[in-house]
Amino acid sequence: MPFDMVLRRLLLAVPTLFGVALLVFLLGELSPGDPAAIALGLDYESGGTADPAQLQAMREQMGLNRPVMERFFDWLGGFLSGDLGQSVVNPALSVSEIMLTALPTTLILTFGTMLVAVLVGIPLGLLSAVYRGGIVDYLARIISIAGSATPTFWFALVLMLVFAYLWPIFPLGGALQDYGLAAIILPVMAVAMHPAALITRLTRAGMLDVLSQDFTRTARAKGLNPRVVVFRHGLRNALIPIITVIGFQLGGIMGGTVAVEAVFSLRGLGKVLLDAIYEHDLYVAQTAVLTIATVFIVVNLLVDILYFVIDPRLRTAQTR
């Protein structure tokens, strides 16, 4: 893996992140709302009102009267240094604290989901391609189409109904701190359904394509063990588009766990982001989006690097 290529990708990530940060910050600023009223504990359901002078004092205390760009660079500096200040809604909590508390849940959910999706999707797609037209193939296709067509939140509720209510082997919901990994199993299964279905279909299509290529036929003609043909010659070639999808899916899963986190009462990054948007907790919302974007960019960088590991043609092309 050439060092200059990694460096180039890393350098490209910097302006991308800066652009994302600027966009996220400005969109937050443009959204209407009064964080000062929220910080004062007002809630539309409670019917409370605040003294106008008190609201103004709160806005000043929160620095909301400072120029936008000044606040942007302060915030960006804070993001880089890890000092993101306090939550607008809850000054007792720092933004970093909120992120660090929520991030493990989201990361476990995201990577757990992808692990399950890969462990289910690749073997199923592989079997489906190898036994094309057979029962396994039909079953795999039915499962993958059903998986793609079922809404995640509905599937989450069905899983909950079956495995937490009718047959209560998992909790109805709750945090990792309270229930350990048992809290994450049903959410992972719920979120994994879509990517698993996609990976199954991609693996099947990729394998069918590769298995009909001349080099596979040659490998077979040379008398190679069928397993070697399928795994070394077939799967390795079919993996390239699958890895691309995994990279994109990871980002998508991370940003899209909101519904499942809400159903299972998991306080991950998605739920934190949703609450922050809802309550106009600007710095928390902006930081959550930037964190998700950063993870997305880093994961895609890793995927790029992985291409070079898997596909020798890219290494050769780079050397030339």
Binding site: P32, T49, Q61, N90, A92, P168, G173, A175
Partner: protein, 522 residues
């Protein structure tokens, strides 16, 4: 204000807590708990902090951890709580209090007059971000400590909501803990003298409490503990109580009612007419300052249809300026001004120069909740045939508050939680000097009615509703004619609990259930 010394206060507490066990300072309580113990799992967690200076929802969580100077029971009775008796007005706007002896905070430090002064000053001086600061800084002159357990509250002027403020915003935290934890107080620690001690708090996620064995009221709380978790999904909340994973559900949407009512082991009870739904009108707007327009809107709205369609029939129509549960409630004989009457609405609009040929376009701002948006859409549909085009804007909470507080709306759907004070629903909503007056009525540029202001002030200053019955009757007539806000209907709130939960009932006001004498039968 002298009369408040005994009028409302000499109530049920006398039987329950009048015998004081001298040595420990503990107050012996008639053992209400037939069976002690049990941990109840319920579903609501304060979204940000347990600091009593900051408003905490649901409210009963404050009473779990802290004690107020006086307490408002769920049946709307004021009881002396940390103090021996209800406040005594010793001079004009000076109220004397005597704390019960021997009360300690969860950290072992004594709850004395200095601690009470610390709690109130902290709010009034703005040392902490508090939605109570505005009212306390306006009315409080000082808290004077007159002894270890005695203090006086000096007010700068008559405060119609004084009892309400004492009951809702004087929950006393440990000064030692507040100083130790600083800004983190309320999240990392919440140390009061209340019936439960904090074990775990994760904002918006989980709250775990265990019984305070040294609680000054002997024999309570009955429960060993409470675990409260934040459950966003309505379906999951419903499953949780059906599966016995939770035993009590805090107020929840009407959509879940039929399913829970049908479930055999669960009781669902309503707190009737607890929140008033109104449309605030910007009376400073040239078009809406025309009373005919406001009256036409009022006559065009069918509150019952909204109760049926949005509240699943759990609500009530407005029949007086106060709701039926309020001590000041006086039913109006003639309600025609606030009942649907399309012909009247059309005639009024025509007179004002509007109608289907010349439609009146107004925006209607609502909060983001589904029931809020639904009400907005139904009102839009009801007013459309009259020639009033409503543009409904359902916006996020923060934006809603900003629009509401800056009067940036034509109409704004407002769900109002009142208190049992006479000033509520009267001066607080319509008084010129009230920051709860969001319509501009009797304020600069808004619709003026001197008589309404006089009546609102007179009603707010009274302590006994009977003494101002004539004023209330006249005031509600005036307001229903002037209509600085449109009266839509009342909405109920509700709680649900499993059969094994004993001695639990739904409070008259949302989120104000008493948990002192609740226990589990098994």
């Amino acid at each position: 204000m002298r009369a408040l010394v005994g009028s409302v206060a000499t109530i049920a507490i006398t039987a329950a807590v009048s015998t004081v066990a001298a040595p420990t300072g503990a107050v012996s309580q008639s053992p209400a708990c037939e069976q002690y113990g049990g941990v109840i799992h319920t579903n609501a967690v304060a979204r940000q902090t347990l600091d009593p200076a900051i408003s905490v929802h649901p409210y009963y969580q404050m009473n779990w951890l802290y004690d107020p100077i006086i307490r408002l029971t769920q049946d709307l009775e004021y009881l002396p709580w940390l103090v021996e008796a209800m406040p005594e007005e010793t001079a004009d706007n000076v109220f004397a209090f005597q704390l019960r002896p021997g009360i300690t905070f969860h950290d072992g430090t004594p709850l004395n007059a200095e601690a009470v002064k610390f709690a109130i000053d902290r709010i009034a001086d703005g040392d902490v971000v508090s939605s109570y600061s505005g009212q306390w800084s306006t009315y409080l002159e000082e808290v004077a400590v007159t002894g270890d357990l005695s203090f006086e509250i000096h007010l700068s002027q008559d405060w119609p909501q004084f009892l309400w403020a004492l009951a809702t915003s004087t929950h006393v935290p440990s000064p030692t803990a507040v100083e130790e934890y600083g800004e983190a107080f309320g999240v990392e620690a919440a140390v009061g003298s209340g019936p439960f001690v904090l074990d775990v708090f994760r904002p918006r996620e989980r709250l775990e409490l265990s019984r305070n064995d040294n609680y000054f009221m002997e024999g309570i709380p009955c429960l060993d503990g409470v675990v409260s978790t934040h459950v966003t999904s309505g379906s999951v909340r419903s499953l949780s109580i059906q599966s016995d994973e939770m035993q009590v559900l805090n107020t929840f949407p009407e959509a879940q009612v039929p399913e829970l009512v049908a479930f055999p082991d669960v009781t669902v009870a309503e707190g009737e007419n607890s929140t008033l739904t109104t449309l605030l009108v910007d009376t400073t707007d040239p078009v809406l300052s025309d009373v005919r327009i406001r009256q036409a809107i009022q006559s065009g709205i069918d509150g019952q249809q909204i109760i049926d369609a949005v509240y699943n029939q759990t609500g009530g129509l407005v029949s007086g300026i106060f709701p039926a549960w309020h001590p000041g409630y006086l039913p109006m004989e003639d309600l025609s001004a606030i009942r649907p009457d399309l012909e009247r609405a059309q005639a009024l609009l025509r007179e004002a120069g509007y109608g289907p040929d010349n439609p009146l376009t107004l925006n209607l701002v609502t909060a983001p909740g589904q029931a809020h948006a639904d009400r907005g859409v139904l009102i839009q549909a009801q007013l459309a045939p009259l020639g009033i085009d409503i543009e409904v804007e359902s916006i996020p909470n923060a934006a809603y508050l900003q629009r509401r507080n800056s009067r940036d709306f034509d109409l704004l759907l407002y769900q109002y939680d009142g208190s049992p004070s006479l000033s509520d629903y009267t001066w607080s909503l319509f008084g010129a000097g009230s920051n709860g007056n969001l319509t501009g009525y009797n304020q600069d540029g808004g619709v003026q009615n001197e008589r309404a202001e006089e009546l609102a002030v007179a009603i707010a200053a009274a302590e006994d509703p009977a003494s101002v019955a004539a004023e209330i009757a006249e005031f509600q007539q005036v307001i229903m004619q002037d209509l600085p806000m449109i009266f839509v209907n009342y909405r109920n709130h509700r709680t649900a609990w499993r059969d094994e939960v004993m001695n639990f009932s739904t409070a008259l006001l949302k989120g104000r259930e008493d948990w002192y004498e609740v226990w589990l039968s098994e």
